[in-house]
Amino acid sequence: MQATNILILIIGLGAFAFFLGRGRSIALAAPLGGIRKLHSLPSYYGLHAALWCALPSLFLLGMWMMFDDPLINSIVVKSVASEIAPTNSASYNLLLNKISNLADGILPRKGENAALVAAADHMISLRVVSRWSLTALLLTLSSLGLLWGWSRISASFRARPVVEKVMQNILLACACLAIFTTVGIVLSVLFESIQFFRSVPIFDFVFGLEWSPQMAIREDQVGSSGSFGAVPLFVGTLLVSAVAMVVAVPIGLMSAIYLAEYASKSVRAYAKPALEILAGIPTVVYGFFAALTVAPFLRDLGASFGLSVSSESALAAGGVMGVMIIPFISSLADDVITAVPQSMRDGSLAMGATQSETVRRVIIPAALPGIVGGIMLAISRAIGETMIVVMAAGMAAKLTANPLESVTTVTVQIVTLLTGDQEFDSPKTLAAFALGLMLFTVTLLLNIFALHIVKKYREQYD
């Protein structure tokens, strides 16, 4: 936790700088006739000094934390005795793991290779050097910053605009984090996917009909040829999502219509939040419910009709997912339905239309763009839903459109491929990122399109 201590130290110094700067500005102002003679309020001078003191140090700390580990690692590995020197990237990682585990004391030193122990000691000493040099550097930097900020204080110095400019940039950086996140997602899935497509052609991946990602860990192992045709996963995902939509769209839409157009105020006041409970339940709970209650129930029900229903059927997973999505659709639909102006209803009712005629012929058509947008968002959510399918849908990649059978989905495969200790650059783990890329692209397109429609719709009635 040494980094935390350094962080606290910097913040402490910043606070110190604040009081120092404020004190100086007040002292400077006193002979001039009080703080009214200052350009800015004293606390702005304090803030100015504090920013100079803490910001560069924080930046340096961040950079250091990012790059010291890789640097130390490469120095250590380069200097190890030749008999344990790594030959390829896999053994490089293995060696590094071992050394750092030794250095952290996770592995016992007793009986280890002397060269390894030496490397571990080297690593420890380098880390100590790194920490101390960092601390010394940071202290110097903070003091210099403090001194600079302090020296600039004068009655005519315009501290407020400077401080506000810095603050605004910090706020901007926070807002831009959303962009960085998106870029991070794109880069991380894209980078690994490109690596994957080097070993598996993209065409085979997108159009291949067979999915069995069993790759050999060693080259000489039998059955080392996995096949990465993702079509069965796409079909499985679509099947489960379709079942979910069949459940969620009519129920969600009808309940939204009922609550918005028919229900009395008091019914609406209770039924709406009660329905929204469904949206607050964690997906893992739905997964448990689907796997342990719904799936056996459907299997037994099917058996009583002479149907064979898999105990991990797409029907169970999709159905429960549909229940989860009901409040999502109903609240989005409720929003767009209540946004339809009352004058539309009046116009139709005054023509002698019944309420249901008004709903079906005027309100739904008027709200249609919004409803379609909502349904698309719901589809995107169904496609990306993970826990329910991981727990209640199967693992076997089957190319089927029968919801009574078990299917597997993109998200299930991502989870299966990436949980457990896999080597990171095997095609098997990389395939998960390629699937992630597909998932991200599809949901992104759906979302952008849907959000665009919904936004346009809102503007129409605003």
Binding site: S343, G347, L349, M351, G352, A353, R361
Partner: protein
């Protein structure tokens, strides 16, 4: 124009005497002055009270609307004229807290009787609103809406004919016949309002209620609508709420003056605007308040 109506036996119109009212206070005002009852009544309202929750919006209004007349309802804003109009085709039903008491009859049939179907009523009593509210559909679909839901057209040709006739009656046909299948919301405000009128008359109602139909329109569009109202009055009974006294004077045969939820005076329009019977009416038309 042969309406098979069972004309209600009319009670002789109650003689009301003009009572001198010196203040604008109406709380002691009991009876409406003027000729609020008609011999050939299409609709009869007796002792109508309308409440929003506990608040009373309409106090004890009794008035007749005669066949094929245009009756204008005027009064300062908030006087309840719109509320009263909306209770004539039970549009107030859509407001949960609204309650109507008293008797409202059309052709002798109680509009608030539980046996009456509100759908049928509203097909017979059409309504045009303050702001033009065409549906977000094509012009054709807007006009065809009523005939479609009520099943009035037996064929596509029938429907086309109804749409054309209604648009013609509303004076809109020439302007839109080339673009019947474009969105009704793309028309100008005045055209939209005439489209709404066309939509209302497409089901051939007996009465048309108009709730300040020109308040959102410019003077030229207003003039067109007023012209249209005059034409329509040959075939339809029209009740129009307006806050423009000039409009009432131009289009209506009789004028009813509402004040704070009470019906103060009903008289032939000319009389109301030249020699009103009641002081409040006079105060209003001479611009002392409103």
């Amino acid at each position: 124009m042969t309406q098979a109506i069972t004309a209600e036996k009319k009670k002789p119109a109650k003689k009301t005497t003009a009572k001198a009212v010196n203040s604008l206070d109406v709380s002691d005002h009991k009876a409406t002055v003027g000729k609020n009852f008609a011999d050939n009544a299409k609709m009869t309202m007796r002792n109508v009270n309308v409440f929003y929750d506990d608040k009373q919006a309409i106090h004890d209004v009794s008035v007749d609307i005669a066949k094929n007349e245009v009756i204008a309802m005027i009064g300062p804003s908030g006087c309840g004229k719109s509320t009263f109009l909306r209770s004539l085709n039970r549009m107030n039903d859509t407001v949960d807290i609204c309650r109507v008491e008293g008797q409202i009859c059309m052709d002798g049939e109680d509009l608030y009787s539980p046996k009456l179907d509100v759908v049928e009523l509203r097909a017979r009593v059409g309504m045009v609103f303050q702001k033009p509210n065409p549906f977000p559909k094509s012009i054709y679909e807007n006009v065809a809406y009523g005939p479609k839901i009520h099943g009035l057209a037996d064929s596509r040709v029938d429907l086309d004919e109804i749409v054309e006739n209604s648009l013609r009656k509303a004076g809109l046909w020439e302007e839109v016949k080339e673009r019947l299948h474009q969105a009704g919301t793309g028309l100008s405000g005045g055209q939209q309002q005439r489209l709404c009128i066309a939509r209302a008359i497409a089901v051939s109602p007996e009465v048309i209620l108009m709730d300040e139909p020109c308040s959102a329109l410019d003077p030229i569009a207003t003039a067109k609508i007023e012209e249209l109202i005059e034409e329509l009055s040959q075939n339809f009974t029209i009740a129009i709420v307006t806050h423009s006294m000039q409009q009432a004077a131009r289009v209506s045969h009789r004028t009813a003056y509402f004040h704070l939820g009470r019906l103060i005076e009903v008289n032939p329009t000319e009389q109301v605007f030249t020699m009103p019977e009641h002081q409040l009416t006079e105060a209003y038309i001479t611009g002392r308040f409103g």
